[in-house]
């Protein structure tokens, strides 16, 4: 999780407090990992370790954030230090799709088809304000989808327009930690029930 979130949690435990959910909390709290991060068996931890450290991103840059994604792949902010080295052009061989840029009405079904054609287990990072909520193109545009999570389930949101390479790296590390807490038996496919508005 994020650096400041970790500092906040450590300081929280230091004072002996426990995170108590306020009664009037409207929504349901979904545990961080897919399928709960309570008990992770040794087999799970081995598989999750392998899976989280070799996520292959897909070549999917639609607009300006793609340049910052390329900068993250470049020598200065190298994302191959964390195992993201191999970027695959075909959706069949990728297991992480970084939505770098605006998703437009005409691009929605294409993005959904690419997501469906990726092999399991697949993860999604929504990079940039456009992928999160339509960003600067929220008002007065007739052709922009206001946020990529109308099309596919998103795991990590990286805000910024465009986000700095370090921000994208932190988002990727967050995704890796999320994968590390996955539990095979309770794993549910994020796309099930997505269209019906889970």
């Amino acid at each position: 999780m994020g650096v400041d979130k970790k500092r906040f949690l450590n300081q929280y435990e230091a004072e002996g407090l426990k995170q108590v959910m306020p009664e009037d909390f409207p929504g349901k709290v979904i545990p961080g990992g897919n399928g709960g991060n309570i008990v992770v068996t040794t087999l799970d931890s081995v598989i999750n370790w392998g899976r989280s450290n070799s996520l292959w991103p897909l070549y999917f840059g639609t607009s300006c954030c793609a340049i910052e994604m390329m900068q993250t792949g470049a020598p200065k902010h190298d994302f191959s230090r964390f195992g993201f080295e191999v970027a695959r052009p075909s959706a069949r061989q990728a297991d992480l799709i970084i939505i770098a840029g605006t998703i437009v009405n005409k691009m929605g079904p294409v993005l959904r088809r690419l997501y469906d054609q990726m092999a399991e287990p697949k993860y999604v990072i929504a990079m940039g304000a456009c992928a999160i909520s339509g960003g600067p193109f929220y008002y007065n545009t007739y052709s922009v989808i206001k946020g990529a999570d109308h099309v596919i389930p998103v795991d990590v949101y990286v805000p910024g327009c465009p986000p700095r390479p370090e921000a994208l790296l932190e988002g990727m590390i967050m995704l890796q930690e999320k994968i590390k807490t996955e539990n095979m038996s309770k794993k549910v496919n994020p796309i099930d029930g997505f269209d019906e508005g889970k």
């Binding site: 009405n105 005409k106 008002y139 007065n140 545009t141 007739y142 052709s143």
Partner: protein, 153 residues
């Protein structure tokens, strides 16, 4: 070449062309719909005009009439003019295409058709370039209504 002598040459190319230079840095010529193709081909072929570079073709909705604005430049003689053409009827606006004179018009006219709905006759393949084929309405028209996204001014 100065606007005035440009005007004197162009006046002979067609009947009742309206000229104006106020509110714009170039000489504006309003050409009636029927003579668009003949005037434009003469603009290109006339030896002392030679407008061979159409650098900007813009679709326009002036409230009542729809039209297209052509910014033309001559690469040898280094002068520029603006040709405007308008059509009143908004249900089925049609102009004739100038893609055989300037081949860049082929793509720009597709864009004008896509956003303003102006059909261009004898255009090679008139289709929606930017929007999905089943999109109804022409977005850049002033009377395009889209309550979901457009903030009413």
């Amino acid at each position: 070449m100065k606007n005035e002598d440009l005007q004197n040459i162009i006046i002979g190319l067609g009947t009742d062309l309206k000229f104006s230079t106020e509110a714009s840095e170039f000489l504006n010529i309003i050409v009636p719909k029927e003579q668009l193709h003949s005037v434009c081909s003469q603009l290109k072929s006339n030896p002392d005009l030679k407008f061979n570079y159409a650098f900007c073709i813009t679709g326009m909705d002036w409230g009542k009439e729809l039209g297209v604005i052509y910014h033309l430049e001559s690469t040898e003689l280094k002068h520029r003019i603006v040709v405007k053409v308008m059509t009143e009827d908004r249900e089925n606006p049609t102009l004739d295409s100038v893609h055989d004179i300037w081949q860049t018009a082929d793509f720009h006219e597709l864009e004008v058709y896509d956003f303003f709905g102006i059909k261009f006759n004898n255009h090679p393949k008139l289709r929606r370039l930017f929007l999905t084929p089943e999109w109804e309405g022409f977005p850049l028209r002033k009377d395009y209504v889209d309550e979901a996204n457009m903030v009413i001014k």
